[in-house]
C-alpha cells in the first residue's frame, strides 16, 4: 500500500502495464501539441503580445503623452472633461495610467494599425479593454509598445484590472473606434 514501503525492495524493475504506458505516451504527446501551438501562433497567429519595451522615466512618459494629446485633441468627454485624441491612422498613440485614470481618451479608425504606448506614472495598473477582452499589465518605468488593429467600430472601455488602491474600481478609460475617413471631432457617443 502507498502508506507502506514497497513490498518488493527492487520496485523499479516491476513491469508497467501496457495501458498505463499508452496513457503516458498520449499525455506526453498532448504536451508537445500544446507546446507547439504556442510556437505556431507566434508564426501564424495574429494575437501575440509585443515584446517591445523600454525603460522610461515616468515624468518623460507623461510629457510625451501630454504633447501627443495636445497635438491631436479633437474634443473633451465625461464629467471631468478628459481630452479625446484622434491621431492619424497608423501612427503612434499614447495612453498613460495613473491613480485613478487612463488618459487621454483615444479615437482610432477601424482596420488601421496603431503603435500603442502604455506606461504607468505611479503604481502597477491593468489595461483591460472591454468588451474585447484584451488584458495587459502596465508597469511604472517601462514603456510597452503594442501594435493594435481595431476590427470593429464602437465605444470600448479600458478598465483597470490590477489592484491599485482605494479608487481602483473607478479607473475607467475609453477608446472609440470609428469608420475610416469619418469626420473627426464629432460629439461623444
Amino acid at each position: 500500500m502507498a502508506i507502506h514501503p514497497p513490498e518488493k525492495r527492487v520496485w523499479w524493475n516491476e513491469p508497467i502495464e501496457k495501458d498505463e504506458i499508452i496513457w503516458i505516451v498520449i499525455a506526453f504527446l498532448w504536451g508537445l501539441v500544446m507546446f507547439g501551438a504556442m510556437v505556431y501562433w507566434h508564426i501564424e497567429g495574429r494575437q501575440n503580445l509585443s515584446t517591445q519595451a523600454y525603460r522610461i522615466d515616468p515624468a518623460v512618459f507623461e510629457k510625451r503623452t501630454e504633447a501627443f494629446t495636445k497635438q491631436f485633441k479633437v474634443r473633451e468627454e465625461g464629467t471631468t472633461g478628459i481630452p479625446v485624441a484622434r491621431p492619424p491612422a497608423g501612427g503612434d498613440v499614447y495612453m498613460l495610467s495613473r491613480l485613478w485614470e487612463w488618459w487621454p481618451v483615444l479615437e482610432l479608425e477601424k482596420g488601421r494599425s496603431y503603435r500603442l504606448h502604455l506606461s504607468s506614472l505611479d503604481w502597477q495598473h491593468g489595461f483591460s479593454l472591454q468588451p474585447v477582452n484584451i488584458n495587459i499589465q502596465v508597469h511604472p518605468g517601462i514603456e510597452h509598445v503594442i501594435t493594435l488593429t481595431p476590427t470593429e467600430t464602437g465605444t470600448f472601455s479600458v478598465v483597470c484590472n490590477e489592484f491599485c488602491g482605494i479608487g481602483h474600481h473607478t479607473m475607467v478609460g475609453r477608446i472609440h473606434v470609428v469608420e475610416p475617413g469619418s469626420a473627426a471631432g464629432g460629439k461623444p457617443q
Binding site: 520496485w11 508497467i16 502597477q124 495587459i136 499589465q137 488593429t149 484590472n161 489592484f163
Partner: protein, 578 residues
C-alpha cells in the same frame, strides 16, 4: 488511552515516548502526535477565519447584496488570501509532513523542540501579518506588488512565518535520516512519504524564493532600499507564490494515495510510474512563476513559452499520470475487493458515505477537470491575453487550492481524528454530507468566477457596475448573473466549511475515545476486504483490467482537448496585435 499503551524507547541516547497505533501496529511518537495536533488545530482556526472573509468577499461581489464598503472589501480580500492560501494550507502541511515521516516510518520525530520553535514562529508571524492587515495599513492584496507598499510588519510577519515553515521542513528531512539510520522501515520510503518529500523539497525552494524577495521588500518598506524593480518582484515573488501551490499539489496527491490505501487497501498501480510523476514535479513545477508574467512588458516570448509550459508540459504530464493512477489504484483495489461487474461497479459501490473517501474523490475529479484544465488554458501564453487578471484567475485557483487541496485536507482530517486525535467523528451523519456541500459549493464558486472572467470581469474589483467612475461602463448582464451565482455557491461552500470546523472541534473536544476495540469502525464505512493486502505486490499485478479508469481518463482527455481549442478559437477573434 494514549498513556496506557505508551512505551519509552531510548534510541541513540534520546528518550522518545510512543504509543502503539491499534489500527496499523505502528509506533507513534507522542511528540510527533502533539505537533500534528497543534498544527492541524492552528490550520483549522485560520481556515475558519479566512473562510469567513471569503464569504464576505463573495457577498460583496454579488451586486444585489454588495455587503462591504470598498475599503473593507480590499482589506478583507487581502486577509482572505493570507489566512486560507498561506496559513491554513501551510499549517496543515506541517501536520502532513510530521505524519508522513514520523508516523508512517514508525520513527521518532527529529528535534521536536525545533519543530515547536517553527510552530511558534509560524503562529507569531501569521498573527503579526493578520493584525497588520486588519489595522487597515496594508490592504495591498496577498501579492503586495510594489510600488504599492504595506506596513513593514506585513512583510516581517511573512518572513517569520516562512522561517518557521522552513524549520518544519528541516525536521521532516531530519526524521527521514533518523528513520533510515535506525532502520525503522524496510527498503524504500512509502509512496505517501515520497510525495511528502516532494512537497518538502519544493517548499524549501519556495521559502528560499520568498526570502530572496520579501527581505529586500521589507527593507524597502522601512526605507533602507530605495526601489524594488516591479517585474523582478513578480518573477521572484511568484517563484514563491506559484511554487507553493505545487507544494499543495504534491501534498494533496500524497493524501489521495494515503486515503485510498487506508480505506480501500489500494496500492499504486506501479511504484515506478507514481514516483516518477512526483519526480517530474520536483524537476519542472518551479517554472510556474512565468504564469504571472505572460502579459508583462520586458519579458521575451521564448522565455514565456518555455517556462509557462513547464518545459513542454512535463509537470502537467506528472499530474495527468496521477490523474490515471489514482482512480486506477481505486479500481484495482475495488475489483480485488470483489466489485467486478461492469465498468463501474467498483465506483458505485465505493464508500460514498465515508467523508474521507467522498472528499478525496471529489477533490480528485474537481482538481483535474476544473483546476487542471483551466490552469493549462490560463497558462497558455497567448490565451492569457484574454484572461489575465480577470475573475477567471481566482476561478481557476479556487478549483485547485480549494476544491483540490482544501477538500483533500478536509477528507484526511476525518482519518486523523481517530488515528491521531484518537476521537470518533462526533456526528457521522452530518459529516457524511459535509464534503458534498463544500465540494459542490466550491465547484460553483470556481465555475461562476471563470464564467465571469471569460466575460472580462476584473478580479480584486469592488464595483462591477462602476457607479463612481467618470466614464460610464458596465459589464454584460450575464456577468452580474455569474456573480450572483458565485455568491450563492459561496454561501453553500461556507455552510460546508463551517460544518467541517464545527464537526472537527466538537469531535476533538467531546468525541468518543478511540482504542483497539473500535478503531476500525471509527474510520468510517469501508468496503469489505476480500483479499489480503499481501497477495499482490503492486496494484496492477495479475490480470485485472481497469475499463472504468480508461473511460474516466478518456472523458477527461476529450474535455481537455475541446476546451483548449475552443479558447484558441476565441483568441483568433480578438483584435490583431503584436
Amino acid at each position: 488511552m494514549a498513556m496506557a499503551t505508551a512505551e519509552t524507547g531510548v534510541i541513540g541516547g534520546i528518550a522518545a515516548r510512543f504509543r502503539i497505533c491499534p489500527a496499523s501496529g505502528l509506533k507513534i511518537d507522542l511528540a510527533a502526535q502533539r505537533l500534528i495536533k497543534a498544527n492541524a488545530v492552528a490550520a483549522i482556526v485560520f481556515l475558519a477565519i479566512g473562510g469567513l472573509f471569503g464569504l464576505m468577499v463573495a457577498l460583496t461581489r454579488w451586486q444585489a447584496v454588495h455587503l462591504l464598503p470598498a475599503d473593507m472589501f480590499y482589506l478583507v480580500l487581502t486577509a482572505h488570501g493570507l489566512d486560507v492560501l498561506l496559513l491554513w494550507i501551510l499549517f496543515f502541511e506541517m501536520a502532513v509532513l510530521y505524519f508522513a515521516s514520523a508516523v508512517l516510518l514508525n520513527c521518532r520525530l527529529a528535534a521536536p523542540r525545533i519543530a515547536w520553535l517553527g510552530f511558534v514562529l509560524m503562529l507569531g508571524g501569521g498573527l503579526l501579518t493578520n493584525v497588520t492587515v486588519l489595522q487597515g495599513q496594508s490592504s495591498v492584496m496577498f501579492t503586495s506588488y510594489p510600488p504599492l507598499q504595506a506596513h513593514p510588519n506585513f512583510y516581517l510577519g511573512l518572513i517569520l512565518f516562512a522561517v518557521g515553515a522552513l524549520l518544519g521542513c528541516l525536521v521532516f528531512l531530519g526524521t527521514l535520516v533518523i528513520a533510515k539510520e535506525e532502520k525503522t522501515y524496510e527498503g524504500s520510503i512509502p509512496l505517501v512519504t515520497f510525495g511528502a518529500l516532494t512537497a518538502c523539497i519544493i517548499a524549501i525552494f519556495t521559502i528560499a524564493s520568498g526570502a530572496i524577495i520579501l527581505i529586500p521588500t521589507w527593507l524597502w518598506s522601512i526605507g533602507y532600499i530605495s526601489e524594488i524593480n516591479t517585474v523582478m518582484y513578480k518573477l521572484v515573488w511568484w517563484a514563491m507564490g506559484h511554487s507553493s501551490q505545487q507544494v499543495n499539489v504534491s501534498a494533496h496527491v500524497a493524501i489521495w494515495y494515503a486515503i485510498i490505501a487506508i480505506l480501500l487497501g489500494a496500492k499504486p498501480l506501479s511504484e515506478k510510474v507514481s514516483r516518477t510523476a512526483f519526480f517530474l514535479y520536483i524537476l519542472f513545477l518551479q517554472l510556474a512563476s512565468a504564469h504571472h508574467l505572460l502579459v508583462e512588458p520586458g519579458v521575451s516570448a521564448e522565455w514565456r513559452v518555455f517556462n509557462t509550459s513547464y518545459f513542454m508540459y512535463m509537470a502537467v504530464l506528472g499530474s495527468m499520470i496521477h490523474g490515471m493512477t489514482v482512480p486506477g489504484a481505486i479500481e484495482a483495489a475495488q475489483r480485488r475487493n470483489g466489485y467486478t461487474r461492469g465498468a463501474f461497479e467498483w465506483l458505485r459501490k465505493a464508500p460514498w458515505g465515508n467523508p474521507a473517501f467522498s472528499g478525496m474523490f471529489l477533490s480528485l475529479v474537481m482538481f483535474g477537470f476544473l483546476g487542471g484544465i483551466s490552469g493549462v488554458v490560463l497558462g497558455t501564453e497567448q490565451i492569457n491575453i484574454m484572461l489575465h487578471n480577470t475573475l477567471y484567475v481566482p476561478g481557476h485557483f479556487h478549483a485547485t487550492v480549494v476544491a483540490g487541496t482544501t477538500l483533500a485536507f478536509m477528507a484526511v482530517t476525518y482519518l486523523l481524528l481517530p488515528l491521531i486525535f484518537q476521537r470518533q467523528v462526533i456526528w457521522p451523519r452530518l459529516a457524511k454530507w459535509q464534503p458534498y456541500l463544500f465540494g459542490i459549493g466550491v465547484a460553483g464558486i470556481s465555475l461562476f468566477m471563470m464564467g465571469a472572467g471569460t466575460l472580462g470581469v476584473a478580479r480584486r474589483h469592488w464595483d462591477v457596475a462602476f457607479s463612481d467612475a467618470t466614464l460610464s461602463f458596465a459589464y454584460p448582464a450575464a456577468a452580474f448573473l455569474m456573480l450572483a451565482l458565485n455568491g450563492l455557491s459561496a454561501v453553500m461552500a461556507a455552510i460546508g466549511g463551517a460544518l467541517f470546523v464545527v464537526i472537527v472541534v466538537a469531535s476533538v473536544l467531546w468525541g468518543k475515545p478511540v482504542d483497539a476495540s473500535n478503531i476500525v469502525e471509527s474510520l468510517g464505512p469501508m468496503p469489505q476486504r476480500q483479499v489480503g493486502d499481501a497477495v499482490s505486490s503492486y496494484g496492477n499485478a495479475g490480470t485485472w483490467k481497469l475499463p472504468g479508469t480508461y473511460i474516466l481518463v478518456s472523458v477527461f482527455f476529450t474535455a481537455f482537448v475541446l476546451y483548449y481549442f475552443v479558447n484558441w478559437k476565441y483568441l483568433s477573434q480578438l483584435w490583431p496585435m503584436g
